[in-house]
Each structure stands twice: as structure tokens, then as C-alpha cells.
Amino acid sequence: MFTLITLDDIEALAVGAWILGTGGGGSPYLGLLNMRRLYAEGHRVELMSPLDLADDDRVAVVSNMGAPLVDQERLRDSRNVARAVEMQQDYSGVKFRAVMSLEIGGGNGIQPLMAAAHLGLPVVDADLMGRAYPEAQMTSVAVGDLRPYPCALYDPRGLESIVTEVPSWKWMERVSRKICVEMGSIASTCKAPRTGSEVKEWGIHFTVSKAIGIGKRVREAQRRHEDPIAAILDEARGKQLFRGKVVDVARRATEGFLRGRCVIEGLDEDRGATLEIAFQNEWVVAWRMEGDERKPIAMSPDLICVLDTVSGNAFGTETIRYGMRVTVVALPAPPVFLTPKGLEHVGPRAFGYDLDFRSVFEE
């Protein structure tokens, strides 16, 4: 029923989660270091299928919230996220059966493993985004209008906050963001507890395995000096959108987000064309330009991943820069976001682009 997650799986998870982060979510490196240490100390974490949850089991949903830059200075202490889970348990009076990630993409892909190691709980092979997204209402459980509260936020200086009640996910985003900013723009959080039946109905399933699978294929291709991009496309049933070189990156911080555009000039079969990708922490919409034509070719909720052409590793919207050689690929979106309600939450209009969603993977 449970499978042991090996350290090699976690090394692969760090690579795969960064790819599924679609440019956001922060690098998983600090989480990986914590897990190496915990495993060296003898801790082990097990993975369980969401389908094995009993309907009335309770699942802790964890994430690190805030600016990746602050993470770089405070580092990341595996005990913090475990404490957020305990706070939630104490406040809600529930006994958690397992832990799962809010978002598999980026550093948060490893958060539940840290909590699980300290609390002796298994990790559910699922998350609520199937990627990374910048805001609290951009989850499968928000699409499902499940209860958004309570949310526990923790800072190791003894700052413990619970948002006990809000009328909507958007209010949860606004209020918890304020607390997070006061804590120094970083907080360990445990979101509203979910029941086993909620996870079975609304969770995005098997995303931990998916991230590990992608990471393993990339690492294997790197070792064998094979094409890691081809391995990713094969493993995740993706499509290559564009190959080229970054020629411009414009970033600006608005309303607490990193927004901007990245322009990539085509190479190889894309020579003569240009790809422009808009981002809000994560890559959101990509337009292909050739001659006078400017055509949107990929958009959220499809995953747009900008990868190092040589290594296959992901580039983040904070770290991408002029001159990098990249391959842009699209991976299929979780089906929950493809419904009209899902698209309201995470479609192109949710990010301010007046476009009708059209999937890269439509026939």
C-alpha cells in the first residue's frame, strides 16, 4: 500500500518538480538538502496512493509561501513545515492520516516530504495544482469550491497565526499574504485540511510519481549524454514548442508578483521565428511571431516549461537571462482546469489576457 521513497527518488523529484514549476515555485535545492540530511539521520518517507485514503481520513496540505529570495537567506528548516502541520492539527482538532503538497512545482514539491519525515506520516501521491501557480484560488480545491479555511502560518521566531475564517479563496489569498509579508515575506503554511474523499475527488493524482519519473528520465539522459528534452517529452507526453536563445527579459514587480516577458529567438527548425512568453511568477502565455503574424500557441493551464537545451533542467522566471539557450515545451494540463469553472480560475483571462483557451494538445 505504501512505497518507500528512496533518496535517489528525491534527487529525481528535485529535478522533476523544478520542471513542473513552469518557471515559478522556487528552486527545490534547499528542500533537497534537508531531505539528504534527514535520510542520513535515518528518517524515511513513504508514498501512498490517494485512492487508498479512507473517505474520512484527514490530509494536511502544506506549502512554503512567499518570496524565493528570502528563502535563499533564511534557508529552509524542515521542522518549520512540520510545526505548521501541528498547529493545524491542534487548532482543527483533527488527526492527520497523511501529508500532501499544495503544489508539486518548484520547492514546494519537496515540502510534504520534510513534514512527513518529522511527523512519521506518509505523503499522498497527489497535489492541488499539478504544477505551480502564484495564488491561493488557483487550485483544484478552489475550482471545486471546497472550504478555504483554516490556514496555519508559521515563522520560527515563535510567530504562529491561524486564519480562522474567510468567505472565499481570494480573501484567503489576501489575508494570508498580509501575514506572510509581516513575517518577512516567507512563511511555512498548512492549508485547510482535506478529507480523504475530497482528495480522491479533487486532488490531482500521482503528481509526485510524475515528477520523480520526469526527474529520473532527465538524470538518466544526462548521464548517458542523450537528449534530455526528448526524454521529458516522452515521459510526460509533452510537445516541443520552440527552440532558441533568450534575447530579452523584462521584469517588473506589481501587486507583489513578478511579471514580465521573455523573448526567444529561434534556432534550428525555428530559425526566423520568435517566441514571446508572458509570466506572472510562472510562464502564462506564449506567442509565436513569424513575419507579421503573432499567434498565441500555448497558454495556462497547459504547462509551459522553459528548459536548458543541453541539460534539460528548468529555468525559473527569476533566473532566466539573456543569452541562455532554451527549449520551450508544453505539458498537458490537469483535466480539472480544463472545465469552464477551472478556466475561470487559471485560464488566460485569470491572468489578464483576453484569449479563449486553446490547448496545445487539442486535435
Binding site: L30, A67, V70, E73, S185, R251, R252, L258, T319
Partner: protein
């Protein structure tokens, strides 16, 4: 202005004299085990030229790979006490947590983790634990450790907790040498702390080595201040180099690129430095190498040094040729005879077919005894040069940041392997003294100042102007002539999720050395 530039490489020690922008004389001598001997020999050879002996010398600038080699080869390293100021955050990832075991075994001394540090906006994260620091300093004293590295969170924005730690250590353990992380690095506590730990481990070696440099200059009867080149193509004083040896880590490659810019008069171009074993390809922007922006590993330790962005390939004058005359395609490199070129290459009477032999056989260069390479078939020689060309074209293409053809400056002892026509290259520029470009780069090194800081509630232009002003003051404090300072790099990055339009700005300025009063 008359300056001597010296490059102390793994194989050769090169020296040049520059006078008002012209190379007066350049020499090459073998590097010696003690470093000093090679420099004395090079300076002796240099001063045999009549124009060198005449007149005073304004400065001697040395570029060296000595310190980075000590880390890579795990030798001459001191044990270090690590002080981390950032509790109650960061506790699960203590100093040395991502070091390779063999290096950590050599360097890791006692570890102390204390409360303190700052936030992204300059607020205190926690008050500095001075009592804890005092106890730690006493333990360091009693334990006999003399090298200490201190890192506190967000110290590049507010270094006061690191400085208070240094003051306490000075009171309790005055003989200790302390490295503070903010003097070395940028945002990223782990990488910045790693740089401080490496630096602290090198302090003993730095004192001995820099003293050796001074002895060599004195023994050569030169009365001039000594400078050491940094990774970014600028210099630091010998005193600063003794305190911050890691700042010289990548100066060899930087110097050859800067030397290439100087000798050619071209400020924006690709540069290839072809040595005996490998070739480095980089890009010059406004006369400086483009910097790597991502994590740089030194001896398998992650750091955030200011390093040139280089792509290295295993191709040089000593590259060994395989499959010559066989059915498979001819291969050149990555194996090389290295410094044994003058014994093992065919043209020197050896038995190994090298890239140099192929070039001699093809008649594009005269090295050694051409008759000894006469047995190399014409088509094999051609195939070797074509294979070298393909490797170079691929490396140049990887490093180019713009479409279209760009000029390429070819320097280094193996530059003859670079053909005049290459895909993606508008022209190949060759320069006199190109084989000593690194020593020339050392001689022309400038003085710089840098800031890397987060600004809030300021528009972008004002924030960049504020950063520039601070960088200028830092450069002047380091000995630059104010009027010559130019901004060589600006990078700004808004910070996700942070309120108040937070903008991180990094600015670097560089200019000429102040003339001695």
C-alpha cells in the same frame, strides 16, 4: 604609466611590461614549485631588455590560479571555525552542509550557530546574540582554531551583525583571522557562507604566497606596489588579497580575455584562449568578460562568485590525435600531453601525434622541427584541423548571445588551431603578444566597486542611480581614480511577492588606478 603584468599559471609564468598602452616586452618562463622562483626568473628575463630596465615601475600586477588550485587539489588548507548568525531560521542546514566529504574533512572545524541576522528590507530578523558570540569566541580561542568565517542572513544588505561578531572575536581571540561573508558575496546565504569558508581556509596560504610575491619583486629590485587581479578583471591591493584570496579564483581566464580586448582594441567580441590542454571561449562586453549569473562550483562547492561565463573544451596545442588513418573519424582531444608537449610531440622528437604536429605538417605554423612531422599524411593533418574547427565552432555558437556573425579574438599559445574562417564569425582577429594575453590582462587590470541591494518605494531609475553612487564610492575607497570610473554592469530584478515595488539592483563600476601621490 609603466606596469608589469605577471600571470602565474600551472605551466608557465608570463611577464610583460606595458608602458602607456604599449607592450614593451613579453617573456615566458616555466612556473616553479615555490611560485616565487618562477616570478624571479620571469622578472629577470624581462629586465634583460634594455627598455625595461630604464625608468621606474608604477605597479606590479599578478594574476594567479594558485588559490583555486589549492581548493581543487585539496592542499595547503587551514581548518576553519564557522559562525552562522541567523537562528532561529536555517538551523537544519548548518555550515558545510553541502560540501563534498573529502573537502569538509579537511576544512570543517567547530560550528557555532547564533541568533541574529536581517530581513530583506533591512529590519533585524533577530537581535544579535552577543553573549553567545563571546562564548563561541572563547571556545575558538581554547580550541586553537585561527581561521574563522562569519555569515549572517541578508548581510549584503546590512553587515552590522557580522561586524559585531568580528569585534567580539577580536577581543576574545585577537590572533584569529576572520572572513565576513558580506565582503565576498551576494544574496544566497549558503553560497555566500561557502565562499567565506573557502576564503578562511586559504588565509594561511594567502599570507605565505603573497609574501612570496613580494619577496620576488624585492629580489628583482623593483620598487612598486603589488596588486593581485580579481575574477572580474580588476585588481585588489596585496593587503586585500591576503584577506580575500578567493577573489582571485578565476582571474586567469579573465585576464586573457581582458588582454585580448586590450591588444586588439576591440571591446565587444568573442574570445577564444587556446592553451595546451583546453580552450576557453567567452564573450567580451565593453571590454569585460560576461559574468556567469548562476551558481558556480569550485572544487564541488557551490558559490556565487563573480566569475566570467566560460565554455571550456578539451582542445589545445597538446591535444592527442586518435583514429589517425583509421576507418573511424579522426579525433582530437580531450586527452592532451599537456606540459610534456616539448618532449612527447613529434616535432620535438617524441612519439605522440598532437594537434601541434598536425598544424606543423599542414604548414600553418612553425614549431619545433618540421621535418619530424613530415611523416604525417596531408589528409590526416587536414582532418585534425577540421575536427578542431568543428569543436571551436560549436563552442562559439554556444556562447554567442546574438544572432549574426561576430568578431573573434584568438589568443593563447595554441591560437594557430583557430582557422581564419569559422561559421558564425565575421573575422578572426590575431594580435601580437597574443600568447601572453593573460599577463597583458593583469597589467591593464582596473579597480572596481560593486553594490547588490534591494531598494523599495523608489522608481527604477532612482534605484539604479543610488546603486551607482554607492558603487562609485566603494571603487574610490578601493583606490580608483574617480574621473575614470565607468559603469560596466547593471542588473535589476523586481522581487516576487515583496511589497513596495521592491527592486534588487546590482551595479559594478570600474576605472583606472589612482596614480601614487
Amino acid at each position: 604609466m609603466r606596469r608589469i603584468g605577471i600571470d602565474v599559471g600551472g605551466t608557465n609564468t608570463d611577464a610583460v611590461l606595458l608602458e602607456d598602452g604599449h607592450v614593451v616586452h613579453a617573456v615566458k618562463t616555466p612556473t616553479t614549485e615555490d611560485v616565487t622562483g618562477g616570478i624571479v626568473a620571469a622578472l629577470g628575463k624581462l629586465s634583460q631588455h634594455p627598455d625595461v630596465a630604464r625608468g621606474t615601475i608604477d605597479g606590479v600586477v599578478i594574476g594567479t590560479t594558485h588559490f583555486v588550485n589549492a581548493i581543487v587539489q585539496r592542499r595547503d588548507l587551514a581548518r576553519v571555525a564557522a559562525v552562522r548568525i541567523g537562528l532561529p531560521a536555517s538551523a537544519s542546514l548548518p555550515p558545510f552542509c553541502d560540501w563534498p566529504d573529502d573537502l569538509a574533512q579537511l576544512v570543517r572545524g567547530e560550528i557555532f550557530m547564533l541568533e541574529g541576522g536581517h530581513e530583506y528590507d533591512g529590519r533585524e530578523f533577530m537581535p544579535f546574540d552577543e553573549t553567545g558570540m563571546r562564548e563561541a569566541a572563547r571556545k575558538i580561542r581554547d580550541g586553537g582554531l585561527r581561521s574563522v568565517a562569519v555569515a549572517s542572513s541578508f548581510s549584503p544588505l546590512d553587515p552590522s551583525h557580522e561586524e559585531r561578531a568580528r569585534a567580539v572575536i577580536a577581543e576574545e581571540c585577537p590572533e584569529a583571522h576572520v572572513t565576513l561573508s558580506h565582503e565576498l558575496g551576494r544574496i544566497g546565504l549558503l553560497e555566500r557562507e561557502n565562499a567565506a569558508l573557502l576564503n578562511a581556509a586559504l588565509l594561511d596560504l594567502a599570507r605565505v604566497t603573497i609574501a612570496g610575491f613580494r619577496d620576488a619583486i624585492e629580489a628583482s629590485h623593483i620598487d612598486a606596489p603589488l596588486f593581485i587581479t580579481q575574477n572580474d578583471g580588476t585588481v585588489m591591493s596585496a593587503e586585500m588579497a591576503m584577506a580575500l584570496p578567493v577573489m582571485s579564483f578565476a582571474s586567469g581566464a579573465t585576464n586573457s580575455m581582458r588582454g585580448a580586448a586590450f591588444l586588439s582594441g576591440v571591446q565587444d567580441a568573442m574570445v577564444v584562449d587556446v592553451g595546451g590542454t583546453s580552450s576557453d571561449v567567452g564573450q567580451l562586453r565593453r571590454g569585460f568578460p560576461r559574468e556567469a549569473n548562476s551558481v558556480v562550483e569550485i572544487g564541488e562547492v557551490r558559490t556565487l562568485f563573480r566569475m566570467p561565463d566560460l565554455f571550456s573544451i578539451g582542445l589545445g596545442g597538446g591535444s592527442i590525435v586518435t583514429n589517425a588513418g583509421g576507418t573511424q573519424a579522426v579525433q582530437v582531444g580531450p586527452q592532451s600531453v599537456g606540459y610534456r608537449l616539448t618532449e612527447e610531440a613529434l616535432v620535438f622528437g617524441g612519439r605522440i601525434l598532437t594537434a601541434t604536429d598536425a598544424a606543423v605538417a599542414a604548414g600553418i605554423v612553425e614549431i619545433g622541427d618540421a621535418k619530424k612531422a613530415a611523416g604525417v599524411p596531408r589528409d590526416v593533418a587536414r582532418a585534425v584541423l577540421d575536427a578542431a574547427k568543428a569543436k571551436l565552432e560549436d563552442a562559439i555558437d554556444r556562447m554567442k548571445t546574438e544572432a549574426g556573425d561576430v568578431p573573434l579574438i584568438a589568443v593563447g599559445g595554441g591560437a594557430f588551431l583557430v582557422p581564419d574562417k569559422l561559421a558564425g564569425v565575421s573575422e578572426v582577429i590575431r594580435v601580437a603578444h597574443g600568447d601572453c594575453a593573460n599577463a597583458v590582462g593583469a597589467a591593464i587590470a582596473q579597480i572596481s566597486g560593486e553594490t547588490d541591494q534591494v531598494y523599495r518605494e523608489m522608481n527604477r531609475d532612482d534605484a539604479i542611480a543610488a546603486a551607482e553612487a554607492q558603487a562609485v564610492e566603494r571603487a574610490v575607497a578601493a583606490g580608483a581614480e574617480r574621473a575614470t570610473l565607468q559603469t560596466v554592469d547593471v542588473e535589476d530584478m523586481p522581487l516576487a511577492y515583496l511589497p513596495g515595488n521592491a527592486l534588487r539592483v546590482r551595479v559594478r563600476v570600474a576605472g583606472e588606478m589612482q596614480r601614487p601621490a
